[in-house]
Amino acid sequence: MSRTLEHLTVVELAGPRTEWCGKLFAQAGARVVLVEPPGGAETRGYAPWFRERRDGESSLHFWHYNTDKESTVLDLHTEEGREAFLRLLAAADVLLDGGEPGGLEGLGVTREAIEEANDRLVHVALTPFGQEGPMASWLGSDLVHQALGGQLMMNGYDDMPASPPVNGQGNQAGHMAGSWAFIAALTALQAGKGTFIDLSVHDACAGMTENALPQFDYTGKVVTRRTGRHASIAPTPAWQHRAADGRYINAQLVNVSPRAWEGLVSWLDEHGMAEDLTDPKYFVPEIFREEADHISEVIGRFVATKTADEIFHGAQARALIFSSILYPKDLLDDPHLAARDFWIELDHGEPDGALRYAGSAFVAQNSEVRPRRRAPHLDEHGDAVRQQEDQA
């Protein structure tokens, strides 16, 4: 099957900020040429490692974010390297540039030179805080960006005095910004002319805190963190309950239809655990809201008698939006992900053979968006890239 973006060529200057966007292009079939410095990309040194092999070819961080890419080493500190880089850009559709503001210019690769090489190029510059402004030279990290963006302060425990706010794991600042970079690049391609895109990671994070801004703008109140549930301007009932097998359940009760409520109450009642929830008064929205803590407690007592799986599937069968709180390892055996071909194998050659990877979450009908090739060794495609240039 054809790949969705197989007609595109992307040049990615290797770095932590561009790697997710580059992967989004690469898994959709775009040719992504990863330009690495002579010592290799910084993230070749990031843990976790493949089976404790701590070397530049065994970073699972690098493996994850660089599937399908081609690696070529160029030293942009040399004239020869810069010329080769501009030749690469001449044949490219998109440049992903995660260096600091003015970084390329500082190396002598000016925007004018890039435009001269290719006036249709979409140049995406991802910086921590944007190209200009009072904080443009500041440094970021996943934690720092989620702190300044507002995510950190919205998450943690309100039943643990003096406990810190807690950030979401998994490199999400990079994902928020990198995904927006992908969107912006594809958007620019629709317009069919070259452009310079100035993307601020800080902006990307700060713009994604759901209802916090409307709450503040309309009520003047600031949402504060609550254990295992949404930050809010006033206390809310618990959503998170522990099941009999020690696992946790997310049991949010929002927009509960009368049918779903009846299903829930009769389910509890079958086990003699509905307590007073069978009372029709709970169909009155005001009473449902007033008694939210009590309802949550009754549900919590029921959840404690069942396994998390029993609650998850039993609740969903009754049109409730509950889920088990899974750990990453649980996904390996998840039947739904298996049915949707989420897990794939990529060939690493000898001695490791085929290794199991997460595929892509994009499911298309007429073309394919999924990784096909492991991340490249350092300069693995350097000769081929240089040869193609010579031919060009």
Partner: protein, 419 residues
């Protein structure tokens, strides 16, 4: 200057943030979005009923969160439970490049508007079906909102303090990222159409997108069999150390500090006056610092405890140390010079809502206008214009359809306030 997506028209059946957030993104980039909706199920967007409300009074056109998610769109009020309503929707298809929907699987098929039916009318349509768990698989019928997807995907469980219950995310992260990924899918489809002339169908599951966002944890479990467990604010894999949120002076005030490079470690030690730590060879490497993380965190925390978070952040950044205050929304709006400089918050005026702030896009694009430019539509505000301009419906027909309760409109402030 034009928007880069000028000329792209979207027939929009998305709801809530995970769905409607995707067409918001397209609207901010210049696409024309025709929201098909109705004040009652099945075509009602429940987000129109959510708070906060302007003046504290509920109403279809008074919801602040709905307004945030639907800036720059048009609203076409059609009762999709009627045959005449379904016919109008079908007539709009040839005029649209994209159809996006986020109903439970099966709804669009019942309306005769599933991908096969729509592509028969417009072969190069880019069609997105966004749902909680996707259109296929054993959980295809399962319901999901952001926290459901976060719980299922592993994102919730990996966020928290060690040996405590999960902290989760504190907001619907996967509604935002669902929206972002759905916009990305539509744009991939448009880009492929540009190259091949062909249409595409995307079956998006919010929960599956959540799984894909676990990042390198995915390979750590699949190849190393790792049991990933939360570590508070410390870096899960020790790629940054120190890496934590430290309590500062005042009530619930915290400063995040992350260090990776030797130069950053040296600068941090200098700013906090820890010459002894700077001189210790066992702390010179990342691995060495990870081995002494408790000790390092205690030293930094004791130093920040009596200091102002914002002043300390500035001092550390000026010395070359990544640091950031844990900001509230109030901090972002009133105390963040960079967001102010870049204009992240755009104020728009609406006669019902008043002057309110809207989150703008995180990008500028040379040669193009991008960003938030007009408020969210009143329910049915554009019904007449769209049916007249695109489909050529004469006034009498519009009146008849309204009298038959197939379409509705809201033109005057009075009408907008009435629902």
């Amino acid at each position: 200057m034009p928007g880069p997506l000028e000329g792209i028209r979207v027939l929009d059946f998305t709801r809530h943030l995970a769905g409607a957030g995707s067409t918001r993104i397209l609207a901010t980039l210049g696409a024309e979005i025709l929201r098909i909706e109705w004040p009652h199920p099945p075509a009602l967007d429940f987000l129109r009923l959510s708070g906060p409300h302007a003046g504290g009074r509920p109403g279809m056109n008074r919801g602040g969160f709905f307004a945030q998610v639907n800036v720059g769109k048009k609203s076409v009020a059609i009762d999709m439970s009627t045959d005449a309503g379904k016919d109008i929707a079908r007539e709009l298809i040839p005029h649209c490049d994209v159809l996006a929907e986020s109903f439970s699987p099966g709804v669009m098929k019942r309306w005769g508007l599933d991908y096969e039916a729509v592509r028969a009318i417009r072969p190069d349509i880019i069609y997105l079906s966004a749902s909680g768990f996707g259109q296929t698989g054993p959980y295809a019928g399962y319901r999901s909102v952001g926290p459901t997807a976060q719980a299922y995907s592993g994102l919730t469980a990996t966020s928290g303090l060690p040996d405590r219950e999960p902290a989760g995310w504190g907001f619907s992260y996967m509604d935002h990222m669902g929206a972002v990924m759905n916009a990305a899918a539509i744009l991939m489809g448009l880009e492929r159409r540009r190259a091949t002339g062909e249409g595409e169908f995307f079956d998006a599951g919010q929960s599956q997108h959540g799984c894909a966002l676990l990042g390198p944890m995915l390979l750590d479990v699949s190849l190393n069999g790792a049991q990933v467990r939360p570590k508070g604010n410390r870096d899960l894999y020790g790629n940054f150390c120190p890496n934590n949120a430290y309590r500062c002076r005042g009530e619930d005030s915290w400063l995040a500090i992350s260090v990776r490079e030797p130069s950053e470690w040296a600068a941090l030690c200098q700013v906090i006056g820890a010459d002894d730590l700077a001189a210790r060879p066992d702390l010179a490497t990342l691995e060495g610092r990870v081995a002494h993380e408790d000790e390092i965190d205690a030293r930094i925390g004791a130093w920040t405890r009596e200091r102002d978070a914002r002043e300390t952040m500035v001092a550390l950044q000026e010395a070359g140390v990544p640091a950031g205050v844990a900001q509230t929304v109030e901090d972002k709006v009133h105390r963040d010079p960079q967001l102010a400089f870049r204009g992240l918050y755009t104020t728009l005026d609406d006669p019902v809502l008043g002057e309110k702030r809207y989150e703008d896009v995180p990008v500028t694009m040379s040669g193009f206008d991008v960003g938030v430019s007009s408020p969210s539509p009143w329910l049915g505000a554009d019904t007449r214009d769209v049916l007249r301009d695109l489909l050529g419906y004469p006034e009498e027909r519009l009146e008849q359809l309204k009298a038959d309760a197939v379409i509705d409109d809201a033109i005057t402030l009075e009408e907008a306030e009435a629902v």
